[in-house]
Amino acid sequence: MVDDSAPGARLLATWLAALLVASPVAFGPTTGWAQQQGDASEAGASEGAQTSEPSQASSEASQTPTLAVLPAQAVGSGIQELVPRRIGEMVRDRVSGDGRLDTLPSFAVMQREEATRVRSTTAINEARKKYTSGIGLIEAGEYQRAADTLQEAVDLLRANVADLQNFDVLADATAKLAWAYYEAGYDFDARSYIKEYAHLRPDASLDQDEFPPELKTIFEEEVNKVREAGTSTLTIEANQEGATVYVDGVEKGKTPATVDVRFGAHYLVVKGEKGRWTSQILVRGRDTRETYEATLSQPERVEVEEEPAYFTQLLSGIADGIFGAELGPELAEFVEQSGADDVAWMTMQQRDGEFRAIPFVYSADEDLYLRGDTVTFDLELSNLRLGVDELGKQIVEMTLNTPTDRAFQRVDLTQEPEADARAEADPKEEAPGQTDDQQIEEQAEEPSDTEEPAAESVQPPPPIEDDEKDGKAGKWILVGVGSAALTAGLVIGGVFLFGGNNPDGFQTEVSW
């Protein structure tokens, strides 16, 4: 039996262990992102009973609003789906980069992470079952079967250590495995695992009555070794700054991080937006310095099921262009599942030869729908960067301040007059030297958080090469001539549009 430093803590640990085993609610497969966070809090609390340091779970708590940004939706016909999608992704990046909000990843990423987490949770739950069975087998004197079962539990826990909320399970299973191996006659393995336990929990003590005395002696010798060896200073770097570093389930800082770790075998985990990296490391101690390079990567891709109906309905409701309180049920479900405090989205319409983008924010706490100013883009997206910046800024400000003068009950974008208050982004204010096509190309090279390959890409006009001497003048001449030609084309096309093909009636699509 594992004995913590205080009798009270031991009793609590015993109860917690019993709870782990007895409570399918607490440790059954979780089913939603928000529930995941709730479970994390529970687990963090239980760990907090045995360590004063922040845990992986408790570190997830945050005071800043959590914002989910939905994919931008095209309203009405006449606009390519790709345009709002790409601009929406850019706006999301702008919002995320602002830093004043906790911006959730895209729904596709959340869904995949959830599927991955569910797989990991399933594995951890399976490990818990095996751990419990192993204890029973030890008590029944079936040490060989206990060793096999506990070995499987430890292997599963190790494989999913990045998602392990209660690290004590792994530590305790390691001690029990040593015991089972010892009783089954596998002395080498028993020694190895009891030493590992001493590295993980040097402040613990083994129950005299239950653990074999020889194992206890090995444990105490190894604990003394840990204490004598002292610590090493570990420098952990990663291919992403700001990724969180955990040692044996306890948060130690953000990359690049420098932490002191005691001698022995430990579990090092680094988690960030680019993925995670885990390793069982051997720390030498004696004031040595060691450096670890963590290459974060996404876990093996898990096939996700179809998007749930509430999400697809939410998007189609926005795309209808008529929305407000009637989106409440879908938004409520999305908020509950995602754990977001606020939800933002953007609509885009093509009117009068320009794109009109409108940012919206839903404040779940206030149940308020907020609408920002319309931002217009010309069809060439010449003011792309400023427009994206303006949209992102509005979303952040609306999320942070919940301005009630921007609240609405219901909007009908399909019936709105052509002219309204707009916050136009002036293309003349674009940074010099950066052409529109360069911007969109640069953005297109950014990894999409939806990770869906674009079926097509925005095709800007071909880049114009110019000499240094009179390049600006030549460029503007070309642009002027080109614009005149484009206008002529639009006028001629408009004759078709407004003169000869005015619709005679509306059309109805019915499905049953």
Partner: protein
């Protein structure tokens, strides 16, 4: 090199842009299409006794008929039919217009080979013009001439990527009194866009005869909910679904919970809630509280007390229930007339609420005190008050005409109904002279509490014109006139034995026939109930909510809703547009 390139690209770029412009304009122009209306259907299969998605396995269905109509002017614009197996259909170039409705009828083949309606549904009325943009609806088809549960869309977020349907119920989350959302004595209204409003009511009532005695309440709801017929959703205004809690400070719920009040439509999305019975220290008392429900306002601001320009809260005097509240749009006032005080006193007071200033003023008295009467707005903008009862005079057949001019009230007696009635059903009808109404059923004697089994046609300034028999005497019912056929439908109420009554259809035989109307079929509710509220939707369906029904051996209030579908589609040529 650069010079060469510029020389090469110089002519090309304008050419490219010219072509692009031509291609864009031409493509859009050549492909110009009007706005589209997308409709997805689901239904309740009465034969199978369950909801069905997208009607793929609707028992007996053979064809779907799609009709464009303007029911307010009895116009059927076009109609086409499609095999059910097609699963979808496209109808190009339907005629633009206002107050338009798309009707969907699922047809089965009868034993004699005719295609007859199996189920139907329709959009709410909508306007569609060339510059309108796309819109979409998801509509329930209800089985023809029977009651069906009203469907609610839902999905298990963890397991289902598809929507399922179940019978909708009042939302019981965040109720002030907690617990069950069943109700009677609630009042309803129909907002534009297919929203049906439900206001308050009582979760439990001791005395439910409504025969002139005052109901004894055991509780009152203060919630305001609406059902969105085009999305299949019940929304409780006072509950914040995003935060999963009731709104703070009691926002978006009534200041005074109540039952047996009035709900009067005063705008496309605005309603006045007036008076009714409430509870004070466990006693049933009347309230004079006046509150405005405005679905167009922001969450948290949708329900508020009526205030004048100085911010003073207005209330009725005397407080009362079983009164009438009639909206007159031209002077923008609501006329409150008569009513019952909990001590059994019936009042004659008439009050006028000026919605511009938010003030209520005492305007005078009815010629006869009355409660449980009816009132309608005439084509000339007066208020026509009919029937009711008072202790001294008993049941009334007298009618009065109230005129509001420059804020002043004038009252004159009009020709009476043939029979004394209170607690009866009333509807305006389109045939015959202007300002014709049909009154059906009700109590005809205050002393004996006898119920009456006739309907009568009453014309303003002329009095009762025609009387015809109902299958049985019924009180506490509603009557609706069908736009297309001029048929009548009575819904709900209790017969002489106190048993709940479903729906009865009366076929219009013409104003020159010996009897204008004849009973033409009846239907039982899915859950027998009385004390329910019924509303006729612009889609043609009648929605029945709440009421009292049996659960085991006891009576309880109900939290469910049903549709009655009196199929009333104006026949149209089968040859398309």
């Amino acid at each position: 090199m650069n010079q060469t390139l510029r020389a090469t690209f110089g002519p090309i770029i304008p050419s490219i842009l010219l072509c692009a412009g031509l291609a864009f304009g031409g493509a859009v122009g050549c492909g110009a299409e009007g706005p589209s209306v997308d409709v997805e259907l689901y239904g309740y299969d009465a034969a199978a006794g369950r909801f069905v998605s997208r009607l793929g396995d609707y028992v007996g269905a053979e064809q779907v008929r799609v009709t464009l109509s303007r029911p307010l002017s009895d116009e059927s614009i076009s109609s086409q039919t499609f095999p059910v197996g097609d699963g979808s259909a496209s109808l190009p170039e339907l005629q633009f217009g206002n107050d338009t409705r798309l009707e969907f009828t699922l047809l089965e083949r009868s034993t004699d080979g005719e295609l007859v309606p199996l189920a139907s549904g329709a959009t709410p009325l909508f306007d569609v013009q060339p510059d309108s943009e796309d819109r979409s609806y998801r509509l329930m088809l209800a089985a023809a001439e029977v009651f069906s549960p009203v469907g609610e869309r839902y999905s298990d977020p963890q397991t289902s990527a598809q929507w399922d349907y179940r019978q909708v119920r009042f939302d019981d989350r965040g109720l002030s009194g907690g617990g069950f959302a069943g109700r009677t004595g609630h009042r309803t209204g129909v907002a534009s866009g297919g929203r049906v409003l439900f206001v308050a009511g009582a979760p439990n009532v001791e005395q439910t005869l409504l025969d002139g005695t005052v109901p004894e309440l055991n509780g009152v709801h203060d919630d305001v909910q609406f059902y969105d017929t085009t999305r299949g959703r019940m929304i409780n205004l006072g509950y914040n679904p995003g935060a999963d809690r009731p709104r703070r400070d009691g926002a978006d719920r009534l200041a005074v919970g109540r039952a047996y009040h009035t709900v009067t439509k005063i705008g496309p999305q605005r309603f006045l809630v007036a008076g009714g019975l409430t509870l004070e220290d466990g006693d049933t008392v009347a309230t004079g509280a006046l509150e405005i429900v405005d679905l167009d306002r922001l969450a948290g601001e949708r329900v508020r007390s009526l205030e004048d320009e100085s911010g003073a809260i207005q209330s009725m005097e005397p407080a009362r229930a079983f009164h009438t509240a009639t909206y007159l749009p031209e002077p923008n006032v609501v006329v409150l007339a008569g009513g019952l005080k909990p001590n059994g006193t019936v009042v004659s007071a008439v009050e006028i609420i000026d919605l511009e200033s938010g003030t209520i003023t005492s305007a005078g008295d009815l010629e006869a005190s009355r409660a449980q009467h009816r009132a309608v707005r005439t084509s000339s903008g007066e208020v026509w008050v009919l029937g009711g009862w008072a202790p001294a005079s008993g049941a009334l057949r007298e009618t009065e005409l109230l005129t509001v001019e420059d804020g002043a009230l004038s009252v004159e007696t009009d020709d009476p109904m043939k029979d004394e009635r209170y607690g009866f059903g009333l509807t305006t009808v389109d045939f015959g002279p202007n300002d014709s109404i049909v009154a059906c059923g009700g109590y005809t004697s205050f002393t004996t509490k006898d119920k009456i089994g006739t309907c009568e046609l009453v014309v303003l300034g002329t009095g009762s014109q025609e009387t015809w028999q109902m299958p049985q005497p019924v009180s506490g019912l509603d009557v609706f006139s069908l736009d297309g056929s001029n048929d009548l439908v009575t819904v709900g109420g209790r017969n002489a034995d106190g048993e709940p009554v479903g729906a009865t259809r009366f076929a219009f035989r013409g104003s020159s026939a010996s009897s204008f109307f004849e009973p033409d079929g009846s239907a039982q509710m899915g859950t027998s109930r009385y004390g329910a509220s019924s509303e006729q939707l612009t889609s043609g369906l009648i929605i029945v909510s709440g009421g009292v029904g049996e659960s085991g051996s006891s009576e309880v209030t109900l939290d469910t809703l049903e549709y009655y579908n009196p199929v009333d589609i104006v026949p149209a040529a089968e040859s398309g547009n």
